[in-house]
Symmetry: D2
Subunit: 304 residues, 4 copies
């Protein structure tokens, strides 16, 4: 059975399941989204491309952007980046503060907030116009110049971002933030507010299924080795305190965001984006997770 | 280039590298091993099979046995097993006690000591003669009736196993150990003392590269889905506080033991066993880790 | 107004208050006590002595015994004892495991279980017949040869003491328990089972109000400096995670036990024992705490 | 022997001891102080008053100010203040973050930074001109209108106060900071920068030895009960992770600051201020601690 057929069938099945998840409400602006939205889109390295449901509606990719800032910072610093942030899975946010103390301000991995803030700080030090340059990087990977920040979401997150201010200053007290904390966070909140639809998102991440190379332009975004390593980090650290569960049930490297999006990558095959804004208790899209579990089961596309 | 050729070359290169690791000394009996030992063996699902160096010398597989007890318990309880133990990566041992408290005695995963002790308790409740029955299970997977416990090592570990006694009783205080703590630990220490050489070890684990099926007898040891899930847990939790690093640098599901062994599995391709008893600071074989990193790099056999 | 008058009045007032506490149930044998019991007894250094309510009924002093084992061990090791256990207040039991790890097996203070187990280990190493010799010490301080262990309570506690087994073995893994863990705990559980009535308890602790000297025999039990220091530790560490609250509301050095007893000492004035078995959420006697707060308020006998 | 005589003798003895402490360097401006300074001053409720050494030289009282902000906030909110901050001793700063999480943003006590920041927030909400009004309060207790902030020290602390920014925003994320975080911290840093000499400091704290009453004006600053409770909190929480040790070795309620000052209070007798800027490993004045230990030993003035 083709991926398209399988996806269509699984999409219909999961669409009709009861959704016990809840909208993220901590960022006021995010609470305005249509809760029942559900879309999925696949892009394959054979340049196939198809989607179902609300796959052309834009949403806030939130933490999924952490893979993109890391990718850009990785191309700039190379392996030196791991002096500033580690690659180990972390427990809960609660532990991450504890671990920052134990690890002298070196975050456990780049996909918890602490780590992504350090990565944002690295970009601040290395980009002339961080917001513009990063946006340019994202657009160039995706061959899509319409991708943009949502300033309202960024402002909304900033207005309640006390815990991120705490994290950033805590890390700065260890010397692992080099720029002004307020400016780092301003950049960080903007990056989180990036908006895309499922099609744009799966197109964008296809380079990680394709050995780091843009499938349209042939341009090497990150090296092949870097692509593998980015996938490995997604596998072990992509879903907060549910990384093991995702690995166990879905079996693909991936990354979620509190906007309800999930991106997953099957090396040498495809990138798949799902969006459904109601979140399970661990903060990952309830239907997105269900869909991916069933999809990899039926299609036998777990990497394990 | 064939796996054999690559392995031979990488083996020679790593053999001559300086080894900054140190022998595990906390189990007195383990300190008697020849520190410079270094062996590697591959078994493929095409029934190829070759090794280099000390690949026919027996060693104590220690925590690698945790995958085997889990496999057997998984076949007995099915998915119910996850009510007793979770599948999330854990931080350091230091955190694992903290997390047991926070998680009411449910260990984070079956590959930390706390989790493996719960798995041992499950087997105690379900096997008539736990030690004999488990040994029988291992022998049957490996088609090798010479595999055995090393009673001296078991006794040695027991004589200094205060922290494991602490863990077991701590979990029992939450009600998640059902049998007598002393008997559970006696079984646990025996299991850890299993002795094999690299060839036996890679032969043994080949079922996890082969969809759960014994390649000689065709017998389904665990279901295909269970095999995938066991691999997923090895990927996220197989190397203590270095699981992310192993995933990142090697890119294969695997499991290490303080005896200096590492097993890694490439689904649908091969199982590879390495043994070199000097350990890095995180408790994983120094040369074993180096070898596997270089091997997957040269052979392009990372799953990512 | 005399102490006697005040105590009588406060006793009556508190007796009639609603008691929102609950019996300790974790030691099966302790759950058999009459829940409504309430007694109080004062012994002054002027050799006055009076009690009200159930002050002549025996109860299990439990953790109050920790002051007595510490006193004896202090006389044996002198200030060297602080190499084995610290004198800092601890947070919850939950933290105490964490802190044992951070502090390499040195308990925060002698009044948390971890610390009292280390003190028991010290006595094991220094007494010929630990149980008999310690009982002899207690009897000699109290001029009362009828004081005894309750073997049933000791056995009951032992049968469910998994967390104490965990603690003892955890500390042993750091080298701070020198004797066999099982024997140390056997002694520890016996000590906790000591039975007394309020009169015996206040008589017993009078030496700490009297500069360390037995008021009947004139014998110096601990030095004056040691007495002051024992009082200081009771002040900062005597009430688990409620030490600050007790200090704040009552203002006397003291120690509680889950049997519902509390002893408090006013240096140079008196020792007062209260017993009421229903415990508040932090594990301290609900009415005992209320009584002492009101008593020190009315009698203006806070040391602050 | 009179207090004066004892203090003079102990002062001379401690003055000549080797000082293994080190200047606090984390606030750049504090590093400029003369390291060998050593002064002591006593004020008794009999209106005696004498000092030795550098007792008339001003220094930054730093955390000692936490007792003063708490006193003022206590008079405003009464016992309601304990809804915002607890009275339990805390472990290390490391734990305090952990505990904030566990306790939903309620700091363990008002003398750790987290707690003092909440107290500052309370004053911000209740004072018209926080800086001026608080200064007025301090001057009125001490009958001394020359006491002032040191703006340079405040600015210096602010320039490196990342961890306090982290704490304040972390607490704000739980809803327990009501004002703008930056403004709360601006006030907090000013309060910490209060400058006094030992005479001014012991005069100032005499109200806590005198049942809450200003000894010159007879004005009741805090109620008698509040004075007792403030002393009790100093006893259990006044010395960071060395509160137990201070209680144990000195036996008086007190509070230290990283400027090298210590105030201690003997209820109904005296207040004593010591200043010597070299700090021990726990952040308390090395010679200040030694002096007080020897002083209470020789003068038998421990409250225990």
């Amino acid at each position: 059975m083709s991926y398209k057929k399988i996806i269509e069938e699984v999409y219909e099945r999961v669409k009709n399941q009861e959704d016990t998840g809840r909208l993220a409400t901590y960022i006021p602006e995010l609470a305005n989204v249509k809760a029942a939205s559900f879309g999925v889109h696949v892009s394959t390295i054979k340049k196939e491309d198809f989607g179902f449901g609300d796959h052309l509606e834009k949403f806030s990719i939130q933490s999924i952007s952490k893979v993109l800032t890391l990718s850009l910072a990785y191309t700039i610093l190379g392996e030196d980046i791991w002096k500033r942030v580690d690659v180990e899975p972390s427990g809960t946010p609660f532990n991450s503060l504890l671990q920052l103390e134990a690890d002298n301000g070196i975050p456990r991995n780049p996909f918890i907030n602490a780590g992504a803030i350090v990565v944002a700080d690295i970009l601040m030090s290395n980009l002339k116009n961080p917001k513009e340059d990063f946006l340019q990087f994202v657009r160039s990977i995706s061959n899509n110049s319409s991708i943009n920040y949502n300033e309202k979401v960024a402002a909304s997150e900033k207005s309640v971002g006390f815990r991120n201010i705490a994290l950033c200053n805590f890390i700065k007290s260890f010397g692992n933030i080099h720029n002004n904390a307020e400016e780092v966070l301003d950049f960080y909140f903007n990056v989180c507010s990036l908006e895309m639809n499922c099609k744009e998102l799966s197109d964008l991440f296809l380079f990680l299924a394709n050995g780091g190379k843009n499938i349209q332009t042939g341009k090497q975004i990150v090296t092949k080795r870097q692509a593998k390593r980015l996938n490995a980090i997604m596998q072990t650290c992509g879903f907060y305190d549910e990384a093991g569960e995702f690995s166990f049930r879905v079996g693909l490297p991936g990354k979620s965001g509190v906007g309800g999006g999930i991106i997953a990558v099957h090396p040498d095959e495809f990138a798949i984006a799902v969006w459904s804004p109601r979140l399970n208790k661990k903060g990952n899209s309830y239907k997105g997770f269900s869909f991916l579990e069933e999809f990899t089961t039926v299609s036998k596309s777990s990497i394990f």
